[in-house]
Amino acid sequence: MKELEAACRKVIVVGRDAELWLAAGAISRALGPAGVTVEAVELESKLPHWAVYPTLPPLEALHRRLGIDESRLIRETGGTFSLGWSFGDASESFFHAWGAYGQGIDGQDFLPCWLRANRLGLRLPYQDFSLGAVAARLGRVLVSDEDTARFGRTDYAYHLPAHRYAALLKAQALSLGVTVQTAAAVNVEEGVGGRISALHLNGDRLLQADLFVDTTGADALLRNAVVGGGGELAERPLVDRVLSGSAPRLQRLPPFASVRASEAGWTALFPTQMGTQVVHAYSTEFASDEEAIAAASSAAQYPIEEFTIAPISGRSMSRHWVGNVVALGASAAPLDPMHGADLHALQLGVVHLLELFPASADYGAESAEYNRVLGESLRRIRDYQDAYYRLNSNKGAFWECARSSPRSAELDHRIATFMARGEVAPMEYDSFSPDSWRAMLIGLRVLPESWPPAVDLVPAEVLGSQIHQIIDFIRSKVLQQADHGAQLKRIERAVA
């Protein structure tokens, strides 16, 4: 056995906001019983008061591990439920819902059946076959039960006011044994072999640990110290600037995010009980900041006065664990804001760090595996984001540039396979389900040119009747669901 006494016993997590507390809390929860202590070094938040975190469905599982009850989450943050993302305006829109679209028919996958039914005269949009999409359209939530479980997955996510969410996570992390020091500034002392030997806080306090976790976001304070400023050379991202603006709380809270494209970028609205965050993604090559503010205001139908603008740098998708430093979330790889995957990327990093947490003084195999898995996971997220940029039909020079930008070989292969046959080529480490890929590609009007010949053997009457059964099921199930606003009020009132 390797020298187990030399195993990692003390972890310092440096960073801010939800990223800091999710990481610190999760590590303490999982490894506290194993004798690992976690200290958080909290830097000042850079998020404006109106900031909102969009999330992906798997975050709920992490909350459960941390002991955060969903009702408490919604009550204390003033957040809302999100059944997915709506793209486009009324005339030409599609909805990407988390969860299943359609159901198998006569042993065949749903999508080819839908394609064939369309050829035979059916004119129902693909998203009519998603419980989430239909519920969202009717402003309802979606609570799973035995019937929906038989139908397919009914995932959902949240929109969480950032500061309240971070405060909740902080309280939970502290109750899980995390200790905290606040700092205005952190200086990194490098030791032998490019490893961090200590941190200096505010110029005087010295902190040491076996492992340092970087959740400082775009600053990547710790990571840059061991890898070198800016990390490896990376291509300039298409979207290099993000505007975050404040808009009032919507009267009727939609249970989804909505995305509108404009000539030089796109705008997402994230509704919460506390107000609406408007996020506008654009490229400085195609728009000025003033144009961005105008586009965001137009999409939000509200003159935005409070806003921040932050750059997005390109950084390569590799080497997130170097020496005794593990970079999580945006400090590892800043993501384009499309599909709201920032916290999800952090969750992936945390989960894999826990799975590969150093068990002895020599953890070269662990960090190599971590970098391999995270690298692939982030590349698959970027592929899913790039699918929108590659396949949209929005007008404007920015979008022409987006459509012709180089993509990964994997994404090109997936698009080609889908166009040829409607198949989503399976790959490891994919955060987005085949249903999500299908919803996005069909929504973007990539209609497969063929389907498996076996689908033609399903009798047309069976096809027709099964499809209508699905529609009827969805309609009746959604009508049973609570109104989103009513559900939020119910949660508000039900204090344990």
Binding site: M1, E428, P453
Partner: protein
């Protein structure tokens, strides 16, 4: 566009499936699709197969026993037992293998051992133009984990999804995905089989010395490094072998992790010992409540009345 039979008859078709075995009449002999050779990782290139009389040891599993030149399989069937010595002709002669095989049989041989020759590897592509190879025409891996039929099944399932429609046989996007999946299936199984050989302690035996020291595929090396470091097995979503299969072979082949996952430290050693003992007991009780292989097969088959006519 067509194949010519020995009878002189010509069969025209839009699409051809090559199940011609090792000779790969269509993909190799006709289209010249290249071969990826794996004999440096899997040096066994021959097998001697011989059936023998069924013995009382009616195991519900295949037994693979390492030998100086390879390994011997033992597969009990109802009416006989199948045996074979998979060996590398570089390291043992056919006669020596034959003697070793016959000498360890636990029943009277029912035939003269039959020799098969093969090479480990796969076609670079299984689907080229309008021809697809399935089975031995697409590649070969020794039967160490009985993967031959699985690979055929996987190919058929993938083909059903991607088979071209009329007029679509020239579309390169369908074979592109099929070939990607084909390579993944074969390469992962290859790695899994190689894993069986490399952690041996048969010093002084040339085949095993070679296997112990040969350079490994990168895709396998990092898995072994990680397991050696902390006992974490690979966990793929796709492909035949689950995390448990990898764990069974990694641990079974004696690759000792140098440390263990820290999450286990959350339990006291006594509690862990108790939980493992409980688990072991539950498994024993569950297994004990099941009939023997022999009595189950006898009873199950007696329910089937062979004299009744079969409905198609």
């Amino acid at each position: 566009t067509s194949v010519m039979l020995e009878t002189g008859e010509e069969l025209a078709a839009d699409f051809f499936v090559d199940c011609s075995g090792f000779r790969s009449l269509l993909l190799d002999a006709t289209l010249g699709v290249g071969w990826e050779d794996w004999t440096h990782w899997l040096p066994c290139d021959s097998a001697l197969a011989v059936p023998c009389e069924r013995s009382d040891d009616f195991t519900p599993y295949t037994r693979s026993t390492a030998q100086s030149g390879g390994w011997i399989w033992r597969i009990p069937l109802q009416h006989r037992t199948g045996n074979g010595y998979v060996f590398s002709s570089r390291f043992i002669t056919k006669d020596a293998a034959r003697d070793a095989l016959l000498q360890q049989l636990d029943g009277e041989p029912q035939d003269e051992p039959r020799l098969l020759r093969f090479a480990a590897g796969r076609r670079k592509l299984a689907w080229q133009n309008n021809c697809i190879a399935i089975g031995l025409a697409s590649g070969f891996l020794e039967p160490l984990e009985s993967t031959s039929i699985y690979l055929i099944q996987a190919a058929v399932v993938d083909l059903l999804k991607l088979i071209p429609n009329r007029g679509q046989t020239g579309d390169p996007r369908l074979p592109a995905e099929f070939n990607r999946l084909f390579a993944m299936h074969y390469d992962r199984i290859r790695d899994f089989l190689v894993l069986h050989y490399i952690a041996n302690d048969r010093s002084g035996e040339p085949l095993w010395d070679y296997l112990r020291s040969m350079p490994l595929p990168d895709t396998l090396a990092h898995k072994i490094d990680l397991f050696r470091s902390r006992g974490t097995p690979p966990n793929y979503e796709l492909g035949l072998f689950s995390k448990d299969s990898w764990l069974a072979v990694l641990a079974g082949q004696g690759i000792e992790p140098e440390a263990y996952d820290r999450l286990a430290d959350g339990h006291s050693p006594d509690r862990l010992a108790q939980k493992l003992a409980d688990l072991e007991q539950r498994l024993e009780e569950c297994v004990a409540s099941n009939p023997s292989h022999a009595s189950f097969v006898a009873e199950y088959c007696s329910r089937f009345d062979a004299s009744r006519p079969q409905v198609a």
